[in-house]
Each structure stands twice: as structure tokens, then as C-alpha cells.
């Protein structure tokens, strides 16, 4: 058992290298967003150590920079991270039923899109040590990337900061585009979401709505409509 733990841990380390590199680049941008929200480098690192969620943290920083209240930030956090509810359900099916509680608590803390994607891709049940291998590199990369982004974001030349600023959005694209290639409904839904987001930003009246509330509203409206009009068939959720 200990030997298989070690084997899985090492495999996790190896598979986690590209994730950790990507996390460092993306969290660097996140650090810049944190600075704009008035965070110190240490505070931004603590945030990344405790939350480990790109979209959630980014949304939080954006709202706080806009002076949003605690309730709006918490609500946004719940929406931005709602997908983890489903991933958490899916991951629970990957664990052997006798997996002790402390493994479940730890896996839940580090349930990110990328760790989840790799973890559910193993055949049969998941050995938590595989995920711990990925986390050992990815989590520090995430926290330190945020720290250095907040610390040095304003020191770097503006063209480098501009270039790094798109990495977060590129990461979002890397998450949403590949499944849309296989699923036409998803493809259309993503295009409609982007169009709606654009229109909400320029049309009279609705453009008065704050960006956080806009994201919450559009997510509930469009996901709800898609769920009713195009209910998914079994097992599609396990592929994401």
C-alpha cells in the first residue's frame, strides 16, 4: 500500500508540472488584480492559499476593486465556484467508498478544474496520493505566483504586464473550448453567453448593472434555460 502511494504520488508530481507552470503564470495576473483591489502581497498570497480558484478569486478581486459589499462578494463566490459542486459530486464517485474522511476533506480543499480533470482521468478508483502529487507543485506555484504578481506587477514593463494579463482569460478558454468542440449545445451556449455579456455591457438600463451582478444574472438565466431546453444525457458531466 505504501509503495503504491509513493508510485501514485510521483506520477502526480510529474503530471502536475505543466499545471504548476500554467498556475504560476495565471496567478501572477491574479496578483496584479489583487493589487488593484487594494491587497498587500501577503494578503493576496493568503487568499490564494485558502481559495485556490482562479475564476472565484478573480471575480472577488474585481468586485472588491469596484467597492462591492460582503454579501455581493460572497454571492459571486458561490456562483463563480458553483461548478465545483458538480465536480465534487463526480469526484466522490471516483473514490473507493472506504476512503477516510481526512482524504475527502483535503481533496475538497484543492478541488480545482485542472486537478479534478487529471484525477478523474485515472482508470477505476482514484488513489488520493496521485492528486496530492499534483497539489505539491501546483498549490505553491499558485500562492507564490499571486504573491509575486502583487509585488512586482507594477514594477514590470507595461508590455509584459499587458501580455501576462491575457493568461487568465486564455486559461478560461482552455477550460471551456475543448468540451464545446464535442458538444454543439455547449458551443452555441458559450457563444450566446459571450454575446449576452457584451450586450449587457453596452445596452441602456442593463449596462447600469454592476459587472458582478451581471455575471450572476447571466449565469443563472442562461444555464437555467439550457438545463430546461437541453437537459444533458448521462455521463456527459464526467468528461469535463
Amino acid at each position: 500500500m505504501n509503495e503504491s502511494r509513493m508510485t501514485w504520488y510521483k506520477k502526480g508530481l510529474k503530471d502536475g508540472i505543466p499545471i504548476a507552470l500554467g498556475y504560476f503564470a495565471v496567478s501572477f495576473t491574479l496578483g496584479i488584480a489583487a493589487k488593484n483591489a487594494g491587497f498587500s502581497a501577503f494578503q493576496s498570497m493568503v487568499t490564494s492559499m485558502l481559495i485556490n480558484a482562479s475564476a472565484g478569486e478573480f471575480a472577488g478581486f474585481t468586485l472588491m476593486a469596484a467597492g462591492a459589499g460582503l454579501l455581493e462578494v460572497v454571492l459571486m463566490e458561490a456562483i463563480a465556484n458553483a461548478r465545483y459542486l458538480l465536480m465534487s459530486c463526480a469526484l466522490s464517485q471516483k473514490l473507493s467508498p472506504d476512503t477516510p474522511l481526512h482524504h475527502r476533506l483535503l481533496l475538497g480543499f484543492y478541488l480545482t478544474d485542472e486537478f479534478f480533470g487529471l484525477s478523474v482521468s485515472v482508470p477505476k478508483t482514484l488513489n488520493p496520493f496521485y492528486t496530492y502529487g499534483m497539489i505539491s507543485l501546483g498549490a505553491p506555484a499558485w500562492a507564490f505566483g499571486t504573491y509575486f504578481g502583487c509585488l512586482m506587477g507594477n514594477v514590470l514593463p507595461v508590455n509584459i504586464v499587458n501580455a501576462l494579463s491575457v493568461s487568465l482569460y486564455a486559461m478560461f478558454l482552455a477550460i471551456i473550448v475543448p468540451p464545446a468542440r464535442k458538444n454543439k449545445t455547449l458551443l452555441v451556449l458559450i457563444i450566446i453567453s459571450m454575446l449576452a455579456s457584451y450586450l449587457f455591457g453596452i445596452l441602456p438600463i442593463v449596462s447600469e448593472i454592476s459587472s458582478g451582478v451581471r455575471i450572476i444574472l447571466l449565469t443563472i438565466l442562461l444555464s437555467g434555460a439550457a438545463a430546461i431546453l437541453f437537459p444533458i444525457k448521462e455521463d456527459v458531466t464526467n468528461e469535463s
Binding site: Y84, C89, S165, T219, A227
Partner: protein
Amino acid sequence: MNLNVYVYIAAMALVTYLIRVLPLTLIRKEIKNTTIRSFLYYVPYVTLAVMTFPAILDATGSIYSAWAALIIGILLAWRGKSLFQVALFSCIIVFVLELFIC
């Protein structure tokens, strides 16, 4: 932002952790309701799409480099490139274009 920053961080962390850990620890059976499953399935895509566009267009120094990053990102992601490659090449295209534009 009147409250202490750490109150915000703690609240965000608590909400995020509860969402992630509760199903993993409490629900050992699969969710059967198709509408709820479908809703949860679609949520990440809509949220991330809404957050990406049009915000990405304001992220760089020029709207042309931003469009280029968006298109490169979509193309590479469509071809199944890794998270790291998609992020890297989107950054590079912005950097290179802005050398010429600005």
C-alpha cells in the same frame, strides 16, 4: 470596501470550501435529477464565457492585440493544446504585436 480585508478573504474561503467539500463528504450517491445535473453542468461554461468576453478586450494595451490573443487562445484550445500552451502563446502574441503597434 469598509470591512477588513481578512473578513472578505475568510468569507470567500469559507463559501468556496463548503461548495467543494460538502458533496465530497456528504453525498455518496449520484445526483439523479436531470435538470439539476444539467444546470450544474452548464454553469461553469456560462460563467467563464461571460467573464472572458468582452473583458479580455480591455486587458491589454490595444484592442488588436487583445483580439489576437482571444483568437489564438480559442484556436489552440480548440486543437486541444494544454492549459500552459494556450496561456503562453496568447501572452506571446500580445507581447509581439504590441512591439509593433505601440
